[in-house]
């Protein structure tokens, strides 16, 4: 359900970037979605396609990579963790910092050749 609230922000950002390519359309948007956000890929894709209709992002291919949660511990380095609410390293028990899997990231936006068929 919260996918729509991410989708609207993604479209805003893509439209903003598209102003630098006034003669192109967006052909592909590559995203990575952190495990913590519990984003349903199919639902996010559906929302993006729905709100992209009539915009520069219409018909763009949406790619979403899933990123698992990882904690960085001073002793043990990066370790996968089951939950973001548990800040301790599963190996040594020290408190660590979440370094991956917490965010939704727009990795790349691909635009087609200016004025070519979208």
């Amino acid at each position: 359900m919260h996918e729509l609230s991410f989708a609207t922000q993604i479209l805003d950002r893509v439209q903003q970037e598209a102003r630098n390519f006034p003669r192109s359309k967006v052909t592909r948007v590559r995203l990575s979605a952190g495990e913590l956000l519990c984003i349903e890929n199919a639902s996010l894709t559906f929302c993006l396609e729905a709100i992209a209709a009539g915009t520069v992002m219409e018909n763009a291919e949406i790619e979403i990579a899933e990123v698992p949660l990882e904690l960085e511990c001073a002793q043990c380095g990066r370790t996968p963790v089951a939950s973001a609410l548990e800040p301790h390293c599963p190996r040594c028990g020290e408190i660590g910092t979440l370094v991956a899997g917490t965010d939704l990231i727009i990795e790349e936006i691909e635009f087609n050749e200016p004025d070519s068929e979208a």
Binding site: S5, Q9, R13, F21, I106
Partner: protein
């Protein structure tokens, strides 16, 4: 030739900045905020009514429902200040609704705010509304499969309150299974077995909340 823009930029859900702002505001005022999420009829309001005598004078409640202010009235009758949000059609509360509510619901003199989300074990799990913790509320009458069936609600919750345990003699409900399934999603989830009718588990639950509030500072 296609042109690729490498952005590598974080996107926040719409409304996140309002949630951050609210969280800052609550912190500043020393108010610990608990967002209760659970199905319709899971016993969220009854839990709050049962807790009311122990937190009178220092806690308030924001109620979320599609329609009616019945829950607000129940909480007020139990002795706490309450504000009712009617979402009309929306299946969850969002941070904007809480901000609007605060404009009409002053929080002076309290250190604990319960926000009872719209009855729904799915969507409320996906939204931050300025809370310190989410607590999932699941009743034994809903069936012991609910933590397994609603993993996201478990994953985002710091605590799970199992309600209506006074009814266990009449039901086939394996509370241990609920605990196991919740822990599989959230290894450190604190589980409380409670009954608003008998008062079982309420003291432990409140003590736990107060402990977290003190730890937050």
């Amino acid at each position: 030739m296609s042109q690729i823009v490498k952005l590598e930029e974080k996107v926040k859900a719409k409304g996140w900045e309002i949630a951050e702002e609210l969280h800052g505001l609550f912190r500043e005022r020393g108010i610990f905020v608990v967002n209760l999420i659970g199905s319709p009829g899971s016993g969220k309001t009854s839990l709050l009514e049962a807790l009311a005598p122990s937190v009178r004078g220092r806690a308030a409640v924001i109620e979320g429902d599609l329609q009616t202010d019945e829950d607000k009235q129940r909480i007020e009758r139990a002795g706490l200040r309450a504000y009712q949000i009617n979402t009309v059609a929306a299946c969850h509360l969002d941070a904007g609704m809480i901000r609007n509510a605060l404009a009409r619901f002053p929080l002076e003199g309290i250190n604990l705010l319960f926000i009872e989300n719209v009855g729904n074990l799915v969507c409320p799990a996906g939204f931050e509304i300025g809370e310190d913790i989410k607590v999932a509320v699941v009743s034994v009458t809903e069936g012991d499969d609910k933590p397994a069936k609603y993993p996201k609600a478990m994953r985002v919750s710091t605590g799970l309150v199992v309600t209506k345990v006074d009814l266990l003699p009449h039901l086939e409900c394996d509370v241990e299974r609920m605990k196991r399934d919740a822990s599989a999603q959230q290894p450190n989830i604190a589980v409380f077995t409670t009954s608003a009718r008998t008062g079982e588990g309420l003291v432990d639950f409140l003590r736990w909340i107060d402990g977290l509030a003190r730890a937050r500072g």
